[in-house]
């Protein structure tokens, strides 16, 4: 089985994509869902795999979204490109560090840079992000030091950053759980009368979880300002999407009463536009949106699995042709937005990041042993106090005893 083997999962190319008439109207939220019977799911794309901008005049299907990136300058494009390159370099370094035994595990985002940078750069500082465990690019956009992401994978903590500093919640490993946290948080935002928005990241595999369905239900009935950003990377460890769904994922939103949009997840510009559009809906009080970023996980699910056991090289190769970074580079080169010197300079910069990541990880101290007992409770707990004392006495019994 391959990605191309089912129509529902076939990615759209640049030509012939048409959204249904009246689709994606902010005034009529439910209309944004495409026709349920579409054999070829709609895919919002602004930048082709060849790096060409799709214009509204030729592609009326993008009329709804293109205005959301009308302000993007060449410098902005270079910024998005830099974000993706730096994120990929960081991710590659982390993968290498895992192979060298410095990290216990790594969940690579390779191939998903556009989905994460596009959506991440759509956010305002006062928006709140609920990631799963692969949102390294979103973390980058939020200003979280990438080395802080590695503590949990090295085994020195379960988080490593203060979620309130950058409005970026801790990684959540039980898939889909955080979509409910995002929904509850968004309910709170609405109660507070704030106009910020919340975004929850999850994957195609997580969409099978009951929690995601419950998050859809709660956010719909309370009209919560939350964007559900699903990165459909085609594989849930070794399970292909046809083991997760029988209809295109974005169409699920229709059943819950809010819009769902499928965007080319390897197109950073389209991801930026669609996420901005969804966030604006949330801010205007129009409730949740489901964005399905149609993308591909080019690496393994985590460093513990072996994709060669469950997918074909041809499939991976086909997706490599849609590489999110290469397509923006092609665009920048073709339009004169950047020259070779720029790319060379960025190469130097990304190498410096890799070096720093390597050094920081290797110098991460093991946590203090007594940290086992810290922060189990906010208000204290007699049993923890007792066990802490026992353990301390046990440890102390070795000191000076030999």
């Amino acid at each position: 089985m391959t990605v191309e083997s089912t129509a529902a999962r076939k990615p759209r190319r640049s030509s012939g994509t048409k959204r249904p008439a009246g689709a994606a109207s902010a005034a009529k939220p439910a209309a944004a869902t495409a026709k349920t019977h579409d054999a070829e799911p709609q895919l919002v794309q602004l930048l082709t795999p060849e790096g060409e901008r799709r214009e509204v005049a030729d592609h009326p299907d993008i009329a709804e979204f293109a205005p959301y990136v009308a302000d993007i300058t060449t410098e902005d494009l270079r910024g998005l490109y830099r974000d993706m390159v730096m994120t990929r370099r960081f991710d590659g370094e982390a993968t290498a560090l895992q192979r060298q035994g410095e990290l216990g595990l790594w969940a690579s985002l390779l191939g998903q840079e556009a989905a994460q940078i596009g959506s991440g750069r759509a956010l305002r500082d006062d928006d709140y992000v609920f990631p799963t465990y692969r949102e390294h690019g979103v973390a980058w956009c939020r200003g979280v030091d990438p080395t802080n992401l590695l503590g949990m994978f090295r085994g020195v903590n379960h988080g490593g950053w203060d979620p309130t500093t950058n409005n970026f919640h801790l990684y959540t490993i039980v898939i889909g759980s955080q979509t409910l946290h995002a929904t509850g948080y968004a309910m709170g935002v609405a109660k507070d009368g704030a106009d910020s928005a919340v975004i929850a990241y999850f994957g195609d595999g997580a969409s099978s979880q009951g929690d995601v369905a419950e998050a859809f239900t709660f956010s719909a009935v309370y009209n919560s300002p939350v964007v559900f950003f699903c990165q459909n990377n085609q594989w849930a460890i070794s399970e292909p999407t046809e083991r997760q769904m029988r209809v295109p994922l974005y169409q699920r939103a229709q059943g819950f009463g809010f819009p769902g949009v499928r965007v080319d997840g390897n197109d950073v510009l389209a991801c930026l536009a669609v996420t901005r559009w969804a966030l604006e809906r949330a801010r205007r009080g129009e409730g949740p949106t489901l964005v399905e970023a149609f993308t591909y996980r080019m690496g393994a699910h985590t460093t513990s699995d072996d994709p060669t056991k469950y997918r074909r090289d041809e499939e991976t190769a086909a997706w490599e042709a849609k590489d999110p970074i290469l397509r923006l580079k092609a665009h920048l080169l073709a339009t004169g937005g950047a020259d070779e010197a720029y790319f060379e300079q960025l190469e130097v910069e990304s190498e410096a990041l890799g070096k720093r990541v390597r050094e920081v990880v290797r110098s991460m101290p093991d946590p203090d042993t007594m940290a086992i007992f810290e922060n189990v409770y906010a208000d204290g707990h007699a049993l923890v106090d007792e066990e802490r004392a026992q353990f301390a006495a046990y440890i102390a019994s070795f000191e000076g005893g030999e």
Partner: protein, 326 residues
């Protein structure tokens, strides 16, 4: 008037009302908690007075209720969640165990999780399947959670407010068959510590330890035993996580005998932990092994059999006799 005679149900309702009045961040959430006032009417009238934004009728999805409560807590709210019945908490168990319980620790203390989960629990009301279970052990076993159960109106009133004030998640088990028991509540009193045990009746021959619905049974057993010349002390544990072993130890050192009574299955139950710890702490004081009285390792039976399943006066007294026979 400071002292009122209230049912446990009314004490809980008053307690929630006070919490809603005192802190605008307190929210009530659950199925039917609004217009209906909850299936046991514990939230009766609260939505009318505090509005739908504070007393929230939710979709019928327990994981969703707890998961969104976590999100609201992250936003600075203090949700008090109602799960309709004990057996219905399991769809939310994942959120409670993998998320709610661990958030504070994994954030290195940055995140507080002031969420209370109220669960009407245990048997004795002739209900159908999934409406009479005692799953407290499953929560007490989880680091990060606190687990309490009041046995009387005063504790119902005070412990619920203390639980709401706590920055830790608290699983608040309400003994549903005692909802209509009346007791005195001093609303101006200084309450006992939330996790402290209380000697409910003093005695010299043996200690009975219980919590929630079984405290009343143990007090009745103590009264019956007194007629036979046996002096039985009853300790109301009030909290199953943490357990106040100091109060219990002091009692056992006086009486030298202990029987633990709860409705939950005996195997690996709260009584097992108490037996182990009290044996460690009081080995040289004990005149008899710590005995346990509780439910069987069987699904909660159909209502017509629950009188046989639940520890009653006779089973408790039988255990007292067995202990005293050593």
């Amino acid at each position: 008037m400071a002292v009122q005679k209230l049912t446990i149900a009314k004490a809980l309702n008053d307690s929630l009302r006070k919490a809603l009045e005192e802190d605008p961040k307190v929210l009530i959430m659950g199925e039917d908690v609004g217009k209906l006032g909850g299936v046991f009417r514990i939230t009766d009238g609260l939505q009318k007075d505090f509005g739908e934004e504070r007393v929230i009728d939710t979709p019928l999805a327990e994981s969703g209720i707890v998961g969104t409560a976590i999100g609201l807590a992250l936003r600075g709210y203090r949700p008090v969640v109602e799960i309709q019945f004990d057996g219905f908490v399991f769809p939310a168990y994942d959120q409670i165990v993998t998320q709610l319980a661990k958030m504070h620790a994994r954030s290195l203390g940055t995140i507080k999780m002031p969420v209370v989960i109220r669960i009407p629990y245990a048997g004795g009301i002739g209900a159908v399947e999934h409406h009479s279970e005692s799953p407290e052990t499953l929560f007490a076993h989880v680091p990060g959670l606190k687990v309490v159960s009041p046995s009387n109106a005063s504790d119902a009133y005070w412990m619920l407010q203390q639980a709401i004030l706590s920055d830790d998640p608290v699983i608040f088990f309400e003994p549903k068959r005692r909802y209509w028991d009346k007791g005195e509540v001093d609303v101006e009193a200084i309450p006992d510590a939330l996790h402290g045990a209380r000697v409910a009746r003093t005695g010299t021959d043996i200690t009975l330890a219980a919590y929630g619905p079984m405290v009343k049974v143990c007090l009745e057993a103590a009264a019956a035993a007194a007629e036979e010349g046996k002096s039985v002390e009853v300790v109301d544990l009030r909290s199953m996580s943490p357990i106040d072993f100091d109060t219990l130890q002091a009692s056992v050192e006086r009486t030298r005998r202990l029987v633990v009574v709860h409705e939950a299955p005996v195997f690996l139950g709260v009584g097992s932990e108490i037996a182990a710890r009290i044996t460690e702490r009081c080995f040289y004081h004990l005149e008899a092994p710590v005995l346990r009285v509780g439910g069987y390792h069987a699904p909660y039976p159909p209502a017509r059999l629950e009188d046989e399943y639940l520890p009653g006066l006779d089973r408790v007294l039988d255990a007292v006799d067995r202990s005293l026979a050593y």
